[in-house]
């Protein structure tokens, strides 16, 4: 990596103060991004690719990405779900050119090679030549030129894919708490309400940190604290699972205590007792889960977040475009059995989330604020110590433990040493 000056200060601190430190180069240097495509997204991980509800019918397909690798998710005639690289086996053209669609088979436009919905090559124009001339060689074996397929598993309608034969089965990879909370959200058939996309000019791992960070939520997001949707003082917790790689952050607005919280947030920008809404219907919600949890942010390693904020439900998929740019794809949903009023509630509350969300918009800014401040700081480090700086679950919200969990997993997946350098 690029030449850098020694940084004795940082290392000195390391020995004396508790806390985890991440060198900023992992966010800014191209080398890490390239390695992530190989070792993270093509490695021993499960990446989220779709909701089954997006491809209900036979022939339905969706084009998406794992990291920045284009893949296709299909529903075959037998109802099975398949994931394959979106790259023709002939000369590499993208086969599916639309974001979504339905088609009995997949045809490449360049020379019309055709594949079935499981990725098998079923047609090659002029394979045997024309008028006895030309064509493919005798030795050509169609069966070896399918689209390259990935391992697929689904959990309650969430579709995950992996390049790895060794990675543990999905549920084991996710861990019991993660599985439990996915089951909690996807407890019955869902209905997709639409997408929102934002293109953020920073490294995707800054968003991975952000979504594992209960500490920022009521300090950056005034709306959260002021209207009690989330406060660090609420009853709640930050759990890690799958060996620390996943994070489940939850809290209960029923535990708000405005008097106490005024104290807790004394002199803080983000708690504004005088701020009231002219149209409070925005926050009229409905209790829809048996448990008291009103906010749940689950960050599943490496590329997806499942959220419940009040009555908004969504998955957020991370697509990495470059070391300094990623796309965040939101899929908002409700349940098939939502009544009209419930759907109205979800849609009105959707003002809180997404790129224009009264709460969520700030996270896009937070990512860019960091990315552009650390461009030249290869060996400088962040300092993650709130809650003790260990990859631990906590029964409270005043911690950054889950962030450390992400970084421990990251070094493992990427084969990095303690200093985040590539192990030789």
């Amino acid at each position: 990596m690029t030449a850098t000056t020694e940084n004795p200060k940082a290392s000195m601190q390391a020995v004396e103060e508790e806390g985890h430190r991440v060198p900023y180069k992992v966010f800014t240097e191209r080398e890490y991004f390239v390695l992530e495509q190989e070792r993270m997204f093509r490695g021993k991980t499960w990446s989220f690719v779709a909701l089954e509800a997006e491809i209900p019918e036979s022939g339905d397909y969706k084009s998406t990405f794992i990291g920045q690798i284009p893949v296709i998710v299909t529903r075959a005639e037998d109802g099975s779900v398949h994931v394959m690289e979106n790259r023709c086996a002939h000369r590499g053209a993208r086969v599916c050119r639309s974001l979504r669609g339905n088609s009995p088979n997949l045809e490449c436009v360049y020379h019309q090679w055709a594949y079935d919905l499981k990725g098998n090559l079923i047609g090659v124009p002029f394979q045997r030549g024309i008028k006895g001339q030309g064509g493919m060689p005798k030795s050509f074996d169609k069966s070896r030129h399918g689209l390259s397929t990935l391992r697929v598993e689904t959990l309650n309608g969430m579709v995950f894919a992996s390049y790895s034969e060794e990675v543990a089965p999905l549920e084991e990879y996710l861990g019991p708490i993660t599985v439990e909370h996915i089951r909690r959200i996807f407890n019955r058939p869902i209905k997709v309400l639409g997408n929102e996309r934002q293109n953020i000019k920073g490294n995707w791992k800054l968003y991975a940190e952000n979504t594992r960070d209960p500490y920022h939520a009521s300090l950056l997001h005034l709306f959260h604290a002021t209207f009690g949707l989330y406060r660090s003082s609420q009853t709640g917790g930050s759990m890690v699972d799958g060996g620390g790689q996943h994070s489940i952050l939850y809290s209960q607005s029923s535990s708000n205590d405005d008097e106490r919280d005024k104290e807790v947030f004394k002199d803080m920008r983000s708690f504004d007792a005088d701020f009231t809404l002219e149209d409070p219907s925005l926050l009229d919600g409905r209790k829809e889960f048996p448990d008291p949890i009103t906010l749940m942010i689950m960050a599943v390693y490496p590329n997806v977040v499942v959220q419940q904020i009040a009555n908004t439900l969504a998955v957020r998929q991370i697509v990495t475009h470059a070391e300094d740019e990623f796309e965040l794809v939101w899929t908002l949903f409700g349940y098939e059995d939502d009544d009209e009023k419930m759907q109205k509630i979800r849609l009105k509350q959707s003002n809180l989330i997404g790129p224009a969300g009264l709460i969520s918009m700030e996270d896009g800014e937070a990512v860019e604020l960091v990315h552009h401040a650390v461009l030249q700081d290869q060996e400088e480090t962040s300092y993650i110590a709130m809650g003790g700086g260990k990859a631990e679950s906590a029964e409270h919200l005043v911690t950054e433990g889950a962030i450390v969990g992400f970084w421990d997993a990251y070094r493992e997946t990427m084969g990095l040493d303690e200093a985040y350098n590539v192990r030789s």
Partner: protein
């Protein structure tokens, strides 16, 4: 003003004038005046084209009262964190398609250019306005403003109305 009494030319003039005032209070950062151009019960929805084309309801901003517009502005001023930026709207091809139950049905194209405090200007958001305009106390007001935007992968975030 009474719609019936206006010639098509005058009608066009009044509609474009309303759109100019709409654009001006956003671009000049006089956002507090922006809700005043809507009726009390106005709806304002900003919908990604990929949802509109599939008939899906999700909007990035989804307001069904002037109050919600006011709340957006107040949040923008006091609550939200976003990069310093200006908008610059260009609106054209304002097409008054007719009158339906007392409402002017108007379609137009727009592009919003954004400048952050680095002083660089980028195409931020482009799309079309589908407006329903009524006369309130002699003034044109938006009863409904449906914004369908092509740029469905939003650059970072969207703080200001489009």
């Amino acid at each position: 003003m009474q719609l019936e009494k206006l010639s098509v030319v005058e009608r066009q003039f009044e509609v474009e004038r309303l759109l100019s005032r709409y654009v001006e209070c956003i671009d000049d950062d006089r956002l507090e005046e922006w809700p005043e151009l809507f009726t009390e019960d106005a709806t304002y929805r900003v919908v990604p084209r990929e949802n509109a084309d599939r008939g899906l309801p999700v909007a990035v901003m989804d307001c069904d009262s002037r109050g919600m517009l006011v709340d957006r502005v107040v949040s923008l001023r006091n609550a939200n964190i976003y990069p310093e930026h200006f908008y610059r709207h260009l609106v054209s091809s304002v097409h008054v398609k007719g009158v339906e139950d007392g409402q002017l049905v108007v379609q137009s194209n727009y592009v919003v250019l954004q400048t952050r405090n680095d002083g660089a200007t980028k195409v931020y958001n482009a799309g079309k306005y589908l407006d329903r305009i009524v006369v309130v106390a002699g003034e044109l007001r938006f009863k409904e403003k449906l914004v369908i935007f092509d740029t469905y992968s939003i650059d970072t975030l969207m703080a200001r109305p489009i």
